[in-house]
């Protein structure tokens, strides 16, 4: 298994390299001039040219590309060409917020989704099942930012329970949790919908398996079968797939971060696009790719751990 993991990591290297090149190209294709964006409309042509030179934008593209790769190899993500702040520090300061939000949302998804899914599967075609289906379809259909705004209107503006601005102090537990509650709920709704559907269909699938029928014919009680055979086999893969959900939610967290003015990777990315901040933009994109590849690998390994049928070779 260790060997397999190493091999997978090695395979990821060329992929990441292509990703880097792609990111570099996409970033340069962006219309607009970062120097003009940085200096504003009153700056003279000279000042703009001087800044362009300073930003390294007058170098030939291949040189910029090599510089980009070179510094990445040294683990240097560069400094923002707009504000001059190190990109690595910018990412480091927001990543905890994004990961906290996504993990909490995944957690909420499991917390609500699994019981809902089980109850729907157990009472198939009952009112509970019907309600659950509608609820989970709604969860899949409502855009996260829309839900976020509704939550703000109810819980912050009307009821004044939760704050709406920013992410609070990360290491101040109270401040942190009050700030993350609504965003996590907005994302968690989506996650709940996924998990509910998955749980329900997974349980129904397993109920049809031969060994469950055998258990029935042995005369075991429904309850016992459910807990001993079905749930175990149905839920473990769902939980192991958590990593994939994290990937999906890391992407969707952008919207929630914007609505709640919360620090995060997504906000960093969108801001960098608006400012034509090439260095920040390309590093954030690369970091996203890294996260996705890493979480995919973790998922794959976790899935293998719980499903003995999968062999690594």
């Amino acid at each position: 298994m260790f060997q397999y993991a190493m091999r997978r990591i090695l395979i990821s290297v060329p992929i990441l390299l292509v990703v880097l090149t792609l990111v570099f190209v996409v970033v340069r294709v962006l219309p607009g001039d970062p120097a003009v964006a940085a200096l504003g409309d009153q700056a003279s042509k000279e000042a703009v040219d001087a800044l362009r030179a300073k930003m390294g934008l007058n170098d030939p593209l291949w040189l910029q590309y090599l510089k980009f790769l070179g510094s990445l190899c040294r683990g240097d993500l560069g400094t923002s060409i707009i504000s001059g702040f190190p990109v690595a520090a910018q990412i480091a300061s927001v990543v905890p917020f994004t990961l906290e939000l996504t993990f909490l949302a995944v957690f909420l998804g499991y917390l609500f989704g699994i019981p809902l899914g089980i109850s729907a599967a157990v009472r198939r075609n009952s009112f509970v099942d019907y309600f659950n289906r509608v609820f989970s379809l709604l969860g899949l259909s409502v855009p996260a930012f829309y839900l976020g705004i509704l939550l703000i209107l109810v819980f912050s503006v009307k009821l004044r329970i939760f704050p709406v601005v920013g992410g609070g102090e990360f290491w101040d537990l109270e401040d942190n949790l009050t700030h993350v509650a609504l965003p996590a709920l907005a994302l968690g709704m989506m996650m709940t919908a996924y998990v509910t559907r998955m749980t329900r269909s997974s349980i129904l699938d397993i109920m049809r398996e031969d060994y469950v029928r055998t258990a029935h014919s042995k005369g075991l009680s429904d309850r016992k079968i459910l807990y001993k055979h079905v749930l175990r086999n149905a839920l473990i893969p769902i939980v192991a797939l958590g990593g994939l959900y994290v990937v999906v939610l890391i992407g969707s967290s952008v919207m929630v971060e914007i609505v709640f003015s919360r620090p995060g990777l997504g906000k960093l990315l969108v801001g960098a696009i608006k400012q034509r901040d090439y260095t920040t933009l390309q590093s954030v994109m690369v970091f996203y790719a890294f996260l996705v590849v890493a979480f995919n690998l973790i998922t794959e390994l976790a899935y293998g751990l719980v499903d003995p049928r999968i062999k690594y070779n």
Binding site: A38, K45, E46, A47, S80, V94, P115, I118, V157, E174
Partner: protein, 548 residues
């Protein structure tokens, strides 16, 4: 299982609720103020580079200049770091006496700060004049700065200019800010970019990209220690988020929309007021005379007649928009052409569709024409007025297509001479700067010696069809060197009249701004004008009053 889930669900919610209800401190005691700007992020903490509204407001809290525009009423200048000054008879040599007891903020390596001397002033102004370190280097050509003694600075200028123009270069705006020489010399430019050291009422504490800048009070501020202990400037580009924050009281002051109905509504929030202030921005429509059919005076005049300032001003909202008649800065700026003067000169082309159609027919477009204009996505300064203009000129047969691009692309495109009409919202410190940047031939985009924002190509093309190149360059230059303020204003007005005659641009409206605020925030001064930060200044006197 189901019961367990219910218990968990309910308990999570209860914990959340209690947590939310628990935190309630006394805000007036904290004296911690939050202000939110309509910006995605900071662009620069360096006063010699700051250009965006949020950036200017932020550096304004940290830095001072030799002279300053008094907060809230920025028409006349008053002493700041300089306590007095004298000028030689030939207006070439200015001597500034520095205030005593001004201290720089503490910084790593100098934990107590140090007292400002003429060295710092000389260093700062030289830095402002260097194009590698300043975006405003162009303002300081032909100027040299010397330290006479630690408390005296001598500034000489090759070609003397009038007092208001001279002093404006050393005011708390753009290149005039004084930075710490010792910090910059010992730590370097890169360090300074993220660790600004100034003399202002608030000192830089921390910066979170795309989130906020936090300031702490500077107890040694020479006008007295600030009442506020902490100021947080947030970057929140979504107006709805800012509104929410203002409603919940998490934000005290927010950058508003330039939209009268919005202002009306915000004012109905609990404990919120939304005063407007000027001058903020003139919105002007520049014809690009290098692109047909706008090389034809009749077409431009027809276009002007097709507009109606009153309709546009109404559309934008009466509490915010003021029709303007000067092609440069409008009153109360010194030397701005007033409505009466423009009317008297017969140079107000407005709201006459019949005449517009007639002129178009004369110019060879009896059925009108079609043109595609690039505009910025920004709503109130670009899209909204242009959409109104689009509807108005359609009645004259002009089919103006709007190509909306994001703001950064807009700035690039118009500088590449890609749009036949440029709608541009701006304000400049004085008529000289405005006229130079928008109408002097040196400033013509792409073709000028120092291309900036002369989109019309005025000064390089024949504007009125008499076969000769038309230009206000001599008037602008003559006015710049005119030492008598009254004569200078007369020259500026003459230039504006010629620009109106040649229909280079259509003055449309001046748009005021609003920063709605909690009514329990006292800025410490009446806010009427703000043409150097475009936002309420947070000063040492600003405070949060006791409230529920």
């Amino acid at each position: 299982m189901k019961r367990l889930a219910h218990v968990l669900l309910v308990s999570v919610f209860m914990i959340g609720l209690l947590w939310g209800l628990a935190g309630a401190a006394d805000p007036a005691k904290d004296q911690s103020l939050s202000i939110a700007f309509d910006a995605g992020d900071l662009k620069s903490l360096d006063p010699h580079r700051a250009a965006a509204t949020a950036d200017r407001a932020i550096v304004d809290m940290m830095f001072n200049a030799l002279v300053r525009y008094p907060p809230g009423n920025q028409v006349k200048l008053e002493p700041d770091l300089a306590e007095s000054w004298t000028v030689s008879a030939d207006k070439k040599t200015w001597t500034f006496k520095l205030r005593k007891g001004v201290f720089f903020h503490p910084y790593a390596g100098n934990p107590n700060g140090y007292e400002l001397t003429s060295e710092d002033v000389v260093f700062s102004l030289k830095r402002a004049a260097n194009k590698d370190t300043s975006a405003y280097a162009g303002d300081y050509g032909g100027i040299s700065v010397d330290a006479v003694d630690p408390a005296t600075v001598k500034i000489t200028i090759d070609k003397p200019i009038s007092d208001p123009l001279f002093l404006a270069k050393f005011a708390n705006y753009a290149g005039g800010f004084i930075v710490s020489k010792k910090a910059l010399e010992s730590k370097g430019e890169d360090w300074f970019k993220t660790n600004p050291v100034g003399t202002g009422p608030f000192k830089f504490e921390s910066y979170e990209p795309r989130q906020k800048v936090v300031f702490a009070a500077n107890p040694k501020y020479f006008r007295g220690a600030p009442v506020l202990k902490k100021v947080t400037a947030r970057f929140m580009p979504d107006v709805s988020s800012r509104e929410f924050g203002l409603q919940t009281g998490e934000l005290h002051i927010i950058e508003g929309l330039k939209e009268d109905k919005w202002i009306e509504k915000v004012s109905t929030f609990k404990e919120v007021k939304a005063p407007t202030f000027g001058p903020c921005e003139t919105q002007m429509l520049y014809f690009n005379m290098s692109i047909p059919p706008f090389n034809d005076l009749r077409v431009r005049k027809a276009f002007s007649y097709a507009l109606s300032r009153d309709v546009i001003a109404n559309f934008m909202g009466k509490s915010l928009a003021v029709p303007i008649y000067s092609p440069a800065l409008s009153p109360p700026a010194l030397g701005a052409l007033t409505k009466d003067e423009a009317l008297k000169a017969g140079l107000v082309f407005d709201n006459n569709i019949e005449l517009a159609k007639k002129l178009l027919a004369e110019a060879g477009f009896p059925n009108g024409f079609k043109t595609e204009v690039i505009i910025s996505e920004m709503s109130s300064s670009y899209q909204k007025p242009m959409v109104a203009i689009q509807a108005l000129v359609r009645k004259a047969g002009i089919d103006m297509q709007l190509k909306v691009v994001d703001h950064a692309s807009f700035h690039s495109k118009i500088r590449e001479n890609a749009s036949p009409i440029v709608y541009y919202a701006s304000w400049r410190p004085n008529e000289d700067v405005f006229l130079t940047q928008f109408y002097h031939s040196d400033s013509v985009v792409q073709k000028g010696k120092k291309p900036i924002t002369n989109f019309s190509h005025y000064g390089l093309v024949d504007a009125n069809g008499d076969g000769k190149v038309d230009s206000v360059d001599p008037l602008i230059e003559q006015a710049r060197l005119e030492l008598n303020a009254a004569k200078q204003e007369a020259l500026w007005k003459e230039a504006q009249i010629q620009i109106l005659k040649d229909v280079v641009a259509v003055p449309v409206i001046r748009l005021k701004y609003t920063f709605p605020q909690k009514s329990y925030v006292d800025l410490g001064y009446p806010l009427e004008w703000s043409w150097q930060t475009y936002s309420p200044q947070i000063t040492e006197k600003t405070k949060i009053l006791a409230h529920k």
